[in-house]
């Protein structure tokens, strides 16, 4: 008995020892800065002088801040283009190709995944050139096909700039979604489709009654991943490089950066970041809840 108890304790301690290095890194580089950032949100502070406690004044200020809501609107556009549309396209394309015997599948996988390995800033810079009014590819193609009247400063107006940036998200994430969904579909037993076909179900019915339910988990993962990118990391680099945040394209993350490091308002910037974090947590939580396996 004694040996068994001692053995269990040993395993317990050892388990935490194995986790310790990662935990230490997470605490130092994630949790501690997160906590500090949250703490700063209750102060007025320019980053160099004294901190003045202002309680929830910063958070109240967010509700009255028109620039924050413009950024919030930009993020909603990005959620649509970086998350929902690629997920939808990914589902449609993968449902068509996953069960087909296509040659060169590995090459297609590489091509689809390539946008993922390009740095966000590089993506933003390249698309900035593609959308350039004078020599950009889009306007030149329009000119070539006789549609020069549709030429436009795509990044130079609040009507088109957010959508133009959004299309970058579709390019960036559709391939990724296709890869994930193809892998998911290929796990589904073919017998289900065979039985359904025997019962007279067409391909659309098979998609809604077999494919979609089986892909619930993959859909949740894809939506969470793409939404987080649409709210923070991806769009920051892309928008910084493509438009600098002009014409309604500035996401909340870039706004927070400018508040902190250009306007030296660390306290308010921290409150904006805290709100963004809450939005990310809520969306992630909701998505996981909806997609919970039965």
């Amino acid at each position: 008995m004694k040996d068994i108890n001692g053995g269990k304790l040993h395993k317990y301690v050892l388990s935490y020892l194995y986790l310790a290095p990662s935990l230490i890194v997470i605490i130092i580089f994630l949790l501690y800065p997160l906590f500090n950032s949250f703490r700063y949100s209750f102060f007025q502070w320019d980053g160099v002088g004294r901190m003045s406690f202002v309680a929830i004044t910063n958070y109240i200020g967010i509700f009255k801040d028109a620039k924050f809501w413009i950024s919030f609107r930009a993020n909603l556009v990005y959620i649509l283009f970086f998350s929902f549309i690629p997920t939808l396209f990914g589902l449609i394309v993968s449902s068509v190709v996953a069960r087909a015997n296509i040659r060169g599948v590995r090459i297609f996988r590489t091509i689809f995944f390539t946008p993922q390995v390009i740095a966000s800033v590089a993506v933003g810079t390249i698309f900035g050139w593609i959308y350039a009014p004078q020599f950009g590819v889009v306007n030149q193609v329009l000119d070539l096909v006789g549609l020069e009247s549709f030429q436009h400063a795509w990044l130079g107006s609040s009507a088109t700039a957010p959508v133009a940036v959004g299309f970058i998200g579709v390019w960036l994430w559709t391939g990724f979604c296709i890869i994930i969904f193809v892998a998911g579909i290929q796990k589904i037993d073919e017998d289900f489709y065979a039985s359904a076909q025997l019962d007279g179900a067409n391909s659309v019915q098979q998609f809604f009654h077999i494919t979609l339910p089986a892909l619930k988990y993959e859909i949740v993962v894809v939506i969470i991943m793409t939404m987080i990118r649409a709210l923070s990391t991806n769009v920051f680099g892309i928008v910084s490089a493509a438009t600098g945040g002009a014409f309604g394209t500035r996401p909340i993350s870039l706004y927070a950066y400018q508040l902190a490091f250009v306007q030296h308002d660390i306290g308010y910037a921290s409150s904006v970041v805290a709100v963004l974090a809450v939005i990310v947590f809520v969306i992630s939580g909701l998505s996981m809840r909806i997609g919970e396996r039965e």
Binding site: L14, G47, A132, Q134, G244, A246, V262, H264
Partner: protein, 459 residues
């Protein structure tokens, strides 16, 4: 886990710890060794590129000859990156010995209030900087009160080794080919634009997506209009009261500011800017100008070397006064991003000695002239400089500006949020989304907000 596995795990952890700690101690001991032999001064700057980098490198070489045991280690980054690096570093009482310190509330104000910068007055007096460099009104741009609550007066916290100005680069061949001369008034400037447009040449290249393109242009037009409306002395005082001294009894909402905004909006309506300019990224406008796709490029002297090296025959003229015959209108510019000293530097006297070499040596001036930079040492001799070159135009303009003693500002200095307000407001103005009055109201709202939040003098 059996005994063997346990042992392996413990050994693995020990090995990892050993290499981590040995790295730390080795570095520590090397540094100890180095400290006994050498001093390293850390310098963080944005003086890269053809115009400034050679000057800094030459100054380092000269300094090393005097102090062979002193190394100067540079970290060169764009100014925006340095702003995010320097402020946290100094707040943590770390960072460089010397660094760029952007004027106004972008950097200098917060750093002075935080007590992180050295008051350079004693060194300025020792080395005679205020006598040898720049006209007195330009020195105001690096002054703050000791408590950092009043800009434009008090102690010197930064020094600049060269000047900068914003002017109108023009394609001489396009002008000559269309019988156009240098405009001497706002009307003549608009006539030039109209004529160029008439022959299918885009008059002005401007990148709408680059924030400061608009507000540099606006400041030039504003100064021209205000000098006409108020007289040049009163206009200079008005601008200094707003930008430097944040006087509560001054307002942006005056007819001159609204008219300046209207003029630019009218230019957009008349098609004086390149097609699709609002969607142009930074430096694409410069590329268009250098490719001969537009006749003028209204921007700073920091582009002069690039333009001079391009295939076009370019010159520069100052933005004209409102009416012909009126005095030389205040131009945008001043000294380049100043250079300051950290309070936490252990080698302040050495820092100051290096700064002095960088600021005042003959080598600096020679290299500045060779690289088409505007020396802070004024007046600059034009002897030996070809009158047909862009650099001659720049130096001539620079001398006139310093002689006049009038210069307007980079308006983003006014408040910490003014950069954003001007950028967004300018794009809305040029995109026909707001009226000139609404644009000026935005500036006023920003200014009033700053009046509530600006640092107050300690009682």
């Amino acid at each position: 886990m059996n005994k063997k596995e346990k042992l392996n795990f413990v050994l693995l952890v020990l090995v990892v710890l050993f290499f981590s700690l040995s790295g730390v101690f080795a570095t520590g001991s090397q540094e100890k060794g180095k400290r006994a032999e050498k001093i390293t001064l850390q310098m963080w700057d944005d003086y890269s590129g053809k115009t400034r980098d050679p000057v800094v490198k030459a100054a380092i070489e000269q300094f090393k000859k005097l102090h062979p045991n002193v190394d100067i280690q540079r970290t060169v980054r764009p100014l925006k990156d340095l702003t995010t690096m320097i402020i946290p570093a100094l707040s943590a009482k770390k960072g460089p010995d010397m660094m760029v310190v952007n004027s106004g509330e972008q950097m200098e104000g917060p750093l002075v209030r935080g007590g992180h910068l050295v008051n350079l007055d004693p060194y300025a007096e020792k080395y005679g900087w205020t006598k040898k460099l720049l006209n007195p009104s330009l020195w105001n741009r690096v002054r703050y009160s000791e408590d950092g609550t009043v800009f434009g007066t008090g102690h010197i916290y930064g020094v600049s080794f060269d000047g900068e100005l914003v002017g109108v680069y023009y394609n001489k061949d396009m002008f000559k080919g269309n019988g156009l001369g240098i405009p001497k008034s706002l009307d003549e400037f608009e006539n030039v634009c109209e004529k160029l447009k008439g022959v299918g040449i885009a008059p002005i290249a401007l990148a709408g997506l680059k924030d400061y393109r608009f507000f540099h242009l606006y400041a030039l037009v504003q100064a021209s209009v205000l000098s006409h409306d108020m007289g040049i002395e009163e206009a200079q005082k008005y601008l200094e009261d707003i930008v430097l001294r944040w006087k509560a009894d001054r307002s942006f909402v005056i007819p001159g500011n609204i008219e300046a905004a209207k003029i630019i909006q009218d230019w957009v309506r008349k098609g004086y800017f390149v097609k699709g300019f609002l969607g142009l990224k930074g430096s694409d406008d410069l590329a268009l100008f250098m490719a001969g796709k537009s006749a003028m490029f209204v921007q700073g002297s920091w582009y002069s070397t690039e333009i001079a090296d391009s295939n076009i025959n370019a010159g520069l003229f100052p933005f004209p006064p409102y009416k012909k015959g009126e005095p030389f209108s205040p131009q945008v510019g001043g000294a380049t991003t100043p250079f300051g000293m950290s309070k936490y530097s252990k080698y302040k006297d050495l820092d100051a000695e290096f700064m002095n070499i960088l600021l005042t040596s003959d080598t600096t001036v020679r290299l500045q002239k060779e690289n088409s930079v505007l020396p802070a040492r004024i007046p600059v001799s034009l002897k030996g400089i070809d009158k047909n070159t862009l650099y001659y135009d720049l130096l001539d303009d620079w001398n006139k500006i310093n002689e006049s003693g009038h210069m307007t500002f980079f308006l983003d200095w006014t408040t910490p949020t003014m950069w954003d307000t001007l950028a967004e407001g300018g794009r809305s103005l040029m995109g026909m989304k707001i009226t000139p009055k609404e644009f000026v109201n935005k500036l006023e709202a920003d200014y009033l907000n700053w009046q509530k939040n600006k640092p107050k003098p300690k009682k």
